[in-house]
Amino acid sequence: MVSAGRASEQVRPPALLDAWPSFRLLARQNLALLLILPSLLLAVAIILYPFFVIVRLSLSNVSPFGQLRGFVGWANYAGVLADPVFYGSLVRTLIWTATVVGGTVLISVPVALVLQQDFYGRGIARTIVMLPWALSLAMAAILWEWSFNADYGMINGILQGLRLISGPIHWMARADTAFPVEIGVGILVSIPFTATIFQGGLSSMPTDIYEAARIDGASAWQQFRYLTLPLLKPFIEIAMVLNVIYVFNSFPIIWVMTQGGPDNATHILVTYAYQLAFSLGRPGPAAAVSVLMLAIVLTFTVVYMRLQREEA
């Protein structure tokens, strides 16, 4: 601010003087805008154009080959919302996301803690934990599908070898066994990424506070509960958000292992949308499901950001 004390000497109205730096600011902002313009345009092209296409598809009667046969308003949405499979898939998507993300975080914290310890063969252990990450999801799902095969699978083989079961369990024949198996696989393939985030968090923690805690006589649990966990919290949060986004949209595991069956009882929204579009040749309703999914993820993001802001 131009100081009020000099106001008497001023001939020009102070407003202009006030405005002068903001002109510069504006110029600087323009430059900044100019500099980010290319990436902004790219983002618009990559995000907004497909978004426009999917919304248009969701409001049209679309042939199996993507030709628009006319505007139908909300009919695709109404059709999807009248389909009981949609609601089953919606509920299952929530269960799937919550259990996979929750399970992943619960397991990844101790895994990261163990891998943080100095022990013989730690390098190998870290590599083994990381390995599933190197495998594409579809390949991992195929591997597990074979492992859970009732007749030749290794899981039944091991269980029978240990005499824990008398006959083969048909894991994939019923949704009540197939879906938990898929959740388990989902957790397993999410651990490497999550454990890596946590390891990064753990290695950035100062060691002296632990020494201080030990001197003060804190037990291992107390050290974990009152030092590690609070310090790890931002990393847990970011891992949750990223995993929710990945897992919510995760398609390969369920599609490869059960294709949403038997009797539509293992569908989540993304496999349901895929089935509508590519098995049944109905891109319109599939686009409607996609838009609804986008709305769900957006809601989640908004709620999360609200919570973040309140905490801050």
């Binding site: 042939s63 048909h170 024949a173 019923r174 038997p262 009797d263 539509n264 579009a277 098995s279």
Partner: protein, 412 residues
């Protein structure tokens, strides 16, 4: 997501193919390139069509044929992407049941103006029928198969049916004996593609139909349909099938049969070739689909279609003309184990004298094809859901079929 992953790879492949014609004129000015998408039936499919393309090119130096082999599971999606992106190939193999959608969207070219009477006369008439819509031929039958029952000779001889079961009662009686001997009796498919068809076998054998004469409403919730499903459910409940049928697709059943763990399975002639390769010592026979009140089977054809926006239609048809001559067809059918679709091949001693293939060929006059109806894929899905709910014990046959038919009627 899977869609993007495959779609992306596909785009890249296409980009490569599409750039070729632009480059070509500089070094071979008269050349035309025909782009042909081929569905992969087996490991032999790609090499076979490449060989055909090379032979054709030798005879017609001004036409080059580009072969692009695509897996069956991603074929429809690949074509959908190409069609909506405006980058269709010139020719493609498709499942004939997709044809109606192609025709309705105006992406398939009618072939009648290219076909001479002699060319038309090469085909076994019944196989031209599924590829014809509204009196025009859009698809030429590249592959055809029918279904029959394979039975394990050793097991069925012990069970008292050395010549295989003739009726569903025989199947049940034999399966009981086989079960007592510690193997699976009747193989019942419970998941993935064609789970519905496996039930149609019995439905048709009891005189049922899938849709009414006008094709406007489904008819599978008839007494014949309920009877067929009740029969299957009874076999499941009595342990006469493999355990947990909803975890077995067609290939799984074929594998059980090849390993000698399953005594009866209904499937296509290509199992003959698989057994010869993988378990040559298996003693088996082939009989028609078991009789209920009548005899029937399911027949399927795959078609080659030409796309409307092809710029090389004449050359493309010239290539079709070539691969539908006798030698290329004989080689194809021998490789893949399909039924002959042209008369010359049917008369070839290799096919005419094969008693196993003869069972399939003899069934053809009573064969049912999948209904040519928009939305059939949807109906099939409703049927599969209903069947699985019955197989799992979640619903009763009549109620499940009623519900499926109501859902299906909304689609038709």
């Amino acid at each position: 997501m899977g869609r993007q992953a495959t779609g992306f790879g596909r785009r890249a492949a296409l980009g490569g193919a599409a750039s070729l014609p632009l480059l070509r004129p500089t070094w071979a000015s008269a050349a035309e390139t025909v782009h042909f998408v081929v569905a992969e039936y087996s490991n032999a499919t790609g090499p076979y069509f490449q060989q055909m393309a090379d032979e054709f090119h030798k005879a017609n130096p001004d036409i080059e044929v580009n072969i692009d082999v695509v897996n069956w599971n991603s074929l429809l999606q690949t074509l959908q992407t190409d069609i909506s992106g405006g980058t269709t190939p010139d020719l493609s193999i498709i499942g004939t049941r997709w044809l109606l959608d192609f025709v309705k969207d105006g992406v398939a070219e009618p072939l009648d103006s290219f076909m001479t009477p002699q060319f038309r006369n090469r085909f076994v008439p019944i196989f031209l029928q599924p590829g014809s819509i509204g009196g025009k031929v859009y698809g030429l039958p590249i592959a055809a198969s029918a279904r029959a029952m394979f039975y394990n000779k050793e097991m069925l001889t012990k069970a008292g049916f050395p010549n295989g079961p003739a009726t569903w009662n025989d199947v049940v009686a034999a399966a009981k004996k086989v079960k007592a001997a510690g193997a699976y009796g009747f193989g019942l498919q419970g998941k993935e593609i064609e789970t519905d068809v496996y039930w149609y076998y019995a439905l048709w054998s009891y005189g049922g139909e899938l849709v009414n004469k006008q094709g406007k409403a489904v008819a599978f919730d008839s007494p014949a349909g309920v009877k067929a499903l009740t029969l299957y459910k009874m076999m499941i409940d009595q342990g006469l099938t493999e355990t947990a049928v909803t975890s077995y697709n067609r290939e799984d059943l074929q594998n059980l049969f090849k390993q000698g763990r399953l005594s009866m399975v209904i499937t296509a002639p290509f199992l003959i070739g698989q057994i010869a390769k993988e378990s040559p010592n298996l003693q088996y026979g082939i009989v028609p689909v078991p009789k209920g009140t009548t005899e029937s089977t399911y027949a399927v054809t795959d078609s080659i279609v030409m796309f409307k926006n092809s710029k090389v239609k004449k050359s493309a048809f010239k290539f079709l003309d070539f691969i539908f001559t006798k030698e290329p067809r004989v080689l194809f059918n021998k490789n893949e184990g399909f039924l002959p679709t042209t008369k010359a091949v049917a008369e070839d001693p290799y096919f005419a004298n094969d008693p196993r293939l003869k069972v399939f060929v003899d069934l053809m006059p009573r064969a049912h094809f999948a209904p040519v109806i928009v939305g059939w894929e949807d109906v099939a899905k409703d049927v599969i859901d209903a069947l699985q709910s019955v197989y799992l014990g979640h619903a009763q046959p009549a109620a499940a079929l009623k519900r499926a038919s109501q859902q299906a009627d909304q689609v038709l």
